[in-house]
Symmetry: C2
Subunit: 680 residues, 2 copies
Amino acid sequence: MADDALVIFTPSGKRGRVALGTPVLTAARQLGVDLDSVCGGRGICSKCQVSPGLGEFPKHGLTVAEGALSGRNAVEDRYDRVRGLQPGRRLGCQAQILGDVVIDVPPESQVHKQVVRKRAEAREIVMSPAVRLLYVEVQEPDMHEPSGDAERLAQALETQWGLKGARCGFAVLQGLQPILRKGGWKVTCAVHQVAEGSEPRILQVWPGFHEGRVTGLAVDLGSTTIAGHLCDLASGEVLASSGLMNPQIRFGEDLMSRVSYSMMNPGGAAEMTRAVREGMNRLIAEIAAEAGEDPRDILDAVVVCNPVMHHLFLGIDPFELGQAPFALATSDAVNVRARDLDLTLHPAASVYLLPCIAGHVGADAAAVTLSEAPEKSADLVLVVDVGTNAEIQLGDRTGGVLACSSPTGPAFEGAQISAGQRAAPGAIERVEIDPVTKDPRYKVIGCDLWSDEDGFEAAVAETGVTGICGSGIIEMVAEMRMAGILDASGLIGSPEQTGTERCFLDGRTYSYRVREAGEDGRGITVTNRDIREIQMAKAALYSGARLLMDKRGTDTVDRVVLAGAFGAHISPKHAMVLGMIPDCALDKVVSAGNAAGTGARIALLNREARAEIEATVREIRKVETAVEPRFQEHFVNASAIPNAVEPFPILGTVVTLPDVSFNTGGESGSGEGGRRRRRR
Amino acid sequence: MADDALVIFTPSGKRGRVALGTPVLTAARQLGVDLDSVCGGRGICSKCQVSPGLGEFPKHGLTVAEGALSGRNAVEDRYDRVRGLQPGRRLGCQAQILGDVVIDVPPESQVHKQVVRKRAEAREIVMSPAVRLLYVEVQEPDMHEPSGDAERLAQALETQWGLKGARCGFAVLQGLQPILRKGGWKVTCAVHQVAEGSEPRILQVWPGFHEGRVTGLAVDLGSTTIAGHLCDLASGEVLASSGLMNPQIRFGEDLMSRVSYSMMNPGGAAEMTRAVREGMNRLIAEIAAEAGEDPRDILDAVVVCNPVMHHLFLGIDPFELGQAPFALATSDAVNVRARDLDLTLHPAASVYLLPCIAGHVGADAAAVTLSEAPEKSADLVLVVDVGTNAEIQLGDRTGGVLACSSPTGPAFEGAQISAGQRAAPGAIERVEIDPVTKDPRYKVIGCDLWSDEDGFEAAVAETGVTGICGSGIIEMVAEMRMAGILDASGLIGSPEQTGTERCFLDGRTYSYRVREAGEDGRGITVTNRDIREIQMAKAALYSGARLLMDKRGTDTVDRVVLAGAFGAHISPKHAMVLGMIPDCALDKVVSAGNAAGTGARIALLNREARAEIEATVREIRKVETAVEPRFQEHFVNASAIPNAVEPFPILGTVVTLPDVSFNTGGESGSGEGGRRRRRR
């Protein structure tokens, strides 16, 4: 009989021979198999559960006999009794290999387990958090070898976990001695390590084996809203999510008005810093309460935001970001202690801010890069994060990534539109206009019925129809154009020209009536000024994308990713009709949802992703739209709404835009947004 | 004519050929010559002053002709006008080498200048502080290369000073942008770097060239007194020194009573932590005021102290140090921010605490090691730091270093002695007793006259003669023994036995009257109980030393260094008569003064010394007296005061101790302290 046995781990396929009697966990370590353990093989944590196989494994040419593993022992029996062990499961640290065997490592037992993301094209998140729990048994003090308790703890982490040079945080050091004694020299450490090989910092020590979970916070700190996810740093699971309005809004709706506020008011920047940090603390409190956690137990945090929010959050006056050359105080990733930001997280928690790409392209854009990985894309992808500023990235894995920011203004968020409003119940979010009758039908947020369906009025009686949100505006304008209510220059036609009384003279131009004033007295109309605002916004967005395409030397992109909360609700068809984004096969336009928030979550769950995005950002070529003459040129030409005459395929249908023009003087009716189609 | 020239730098002797026109500073760098510069050769800082030679240099086989250097230029003229340039001095960054030349680098122009120490055998301090000023010119921001201001500052430090990866402290980052602009992209940085190659941290940035000096604080935090030196981190000069009583004294005179206080009183440790930090802040304020500096400008600090003070200062409950196995919370050196210790230094200042050797042998002992370097000694040296505990080290460069602590108690500091007092004006510090008349003469602190000299009483009228300080007690007891007033067992004889009425019955034993009660009503006597206290203290000290000698396997030492404030005032002759220290040629017994304070100053001025002492401490073999049976044995035997019969040479005189015994029963009159002499 051989004194060793063949062991094959699935799903990795790693295999090798180990001495008989070797515990499965030890074998996994020897063969480099990804099998979790917090207690280091002491039968306490149960993270190392495995499913041994039995019988024939033709794929591996192996027959596993009964007795290939040692029988269930007292530790496993006790664990099963107390916490339950699934049938067929064994504790990897207890089960010993006694013969050739195939052992499956279930996903939840893998250290670097993957967090499932919904979109097929989305990158997977591999668990590799900066903070993890490690259970150790520390050598007792010896008068004749008088090393300190902290040094013996560090030594235990090194010998039992291969973690070199761990240092206690100052607060940990202050309280270490009684904890070591309370735990009988057995303790669990929460260890923070920025990267493999960097100095590990012990954030907290618990006596004995600590059952609690380790949590971290990923925050997308936007100008308008602050949204966060509280994640379990072992499983990657999102425990709670929450969002609130950025309290800085009282200092100005958009970023530049906040920069102005800081310029005009002594102490204004500090005031805004306090406001945003208070907002963060409210979010932290809410989200922790939802998850049933103490905010003081949250051990790690990642924050993504635009450069102005970045500076204000860090307590840096954003003055320089308000004027050329838009110099950032710091562009690298920032590692800072939560307490330096007055955040009510764990006192030893770190906060990581992703690097900024440029003065107008911030850590939020870097987070989008991390989520969407244009630098790894096989095809040429345009990633657009639509907000008050649009951050635009264009790239693929061969040609690298270009990035710019474009000042779209707040029109896409419903601001500066006469009937515009935030996306909230009562807001029109979907629109269709009959090309014959020119009558609209629409859906409002909070109601599943279309406005021409029975019961609609009753269903919206409570909320009313209060306005049009950003995505509704896009559809509205595109539908008006497709129905021939609007000409290519963006002018609304007269009743005579359009054949509908919904168009009416409103001052010197015409407006389009969407909904009559009801009992609440409020009607909804689209004015020619609204159209102008949308034209400006979409022209800015389009020009930014176009500028990057120029720099790249291309007229087309293979794929468009719409990111941001707004991007998630936008209709690709209408966006393309409007000329917001360059042409692209419609099925190649996808929404990535809140990609910046996803990027923050990736950086929270995977520390290697931090180093990776830092390196990627250094390679991104930045294009400053403010000083690019081509941008202005594109902008002027892109204000038109395409009057394409050729049919172009949208979701299998054929759309032909009417070649109408309501005004022959002044503005050009055939902008670049149209010409580009002809060029095809 | 050659297109290069020979340049010889003195005092280093470094030589080489450089291209004609090379500035002296550049040549120095090329040849690895230690020539200072803060401004990086821009003619601003004047740190690179040199003295070029002229004429014959037979030693170097060189004749230096007129014109070997370029003539004085406008920058030097201006510097001379504004700040004065000594005759013969040139600015190394301005003077160009045009021919063979000998250039002297005066001490103040050397980067690693040496700080002069008084004692011949003392190690020199080479300037290599952890914090230094560096002037840089930072690249302006460029919209097309949108790196942050902090990153461009770091880049400037790298290209202009070879300093890689410098990071701004968080407060620096917050205020960086306006400073860079105010300085026109020229700034001076205070950079902290623990060691060559470790991450440099930018503590402060000033616009333009900063003229101010960089200061650091070295503190000897004793149980009784806190003493500090404020040092110029460029020159090493001590700018101010100050000391105050440790406010913790109200919680207990000695360390163990403070540990007891913390055990008996909830929150007691925290209370003592507050007290000592308040004391530190008072010291900082005093010392800064004396030097005319703002305490908030002090950029670095080193603190040495015993383990109990170490823990209390750091905010660690010293509970474990009060009982075996005397486990330290941490034994390694501690790097902590001043603000974490609530110290009113520069907000970004670091505080460095030397490593502790053992639970009873602290960072102060490590500082003594650093100052006295027993591990580098060619002869076998015994280093004794006398305080409430004596820390004793024995070693040489071949056999390594042994260390222990011995509980001498506070008798050497004048406590628990009936007429004992701290060293202050009015305290007897020197004593001689006439062996025939048995009358004493003495000197008191604050008066240069001996007590039997004319005018003594008038001179001490103001202070009075108030008591006997520690060093006075040693001399008193030794002189009493030498005059035959005391027998070897430590008993004071009767008037009949001693032949002097100064001895009088005082309860059940005799006392010795030093000074009659005067108008103030206070006389000074030495009681038999006082003798007992001193016997216990000296026996503890001697036994510790003896134990280390046993471990080392030697009966003799080559050299004795007495450290500590008390050690500085102790008379080697009397110490040896008393049997405090092992025998040694008297001229080989020296006082190192406050060696712990010196060690703190070395660590402050030379960062390499920190790594060095950390490595040295790891190699020191610790001996725990509390559990060594040999220590008890030595202690019992060492309480006697030697009754050596052979003459032994003390400063050329011959002393014979009388072989008297006042008591034949009870205590042994011939302890080991005596026997060891017979063994010779």
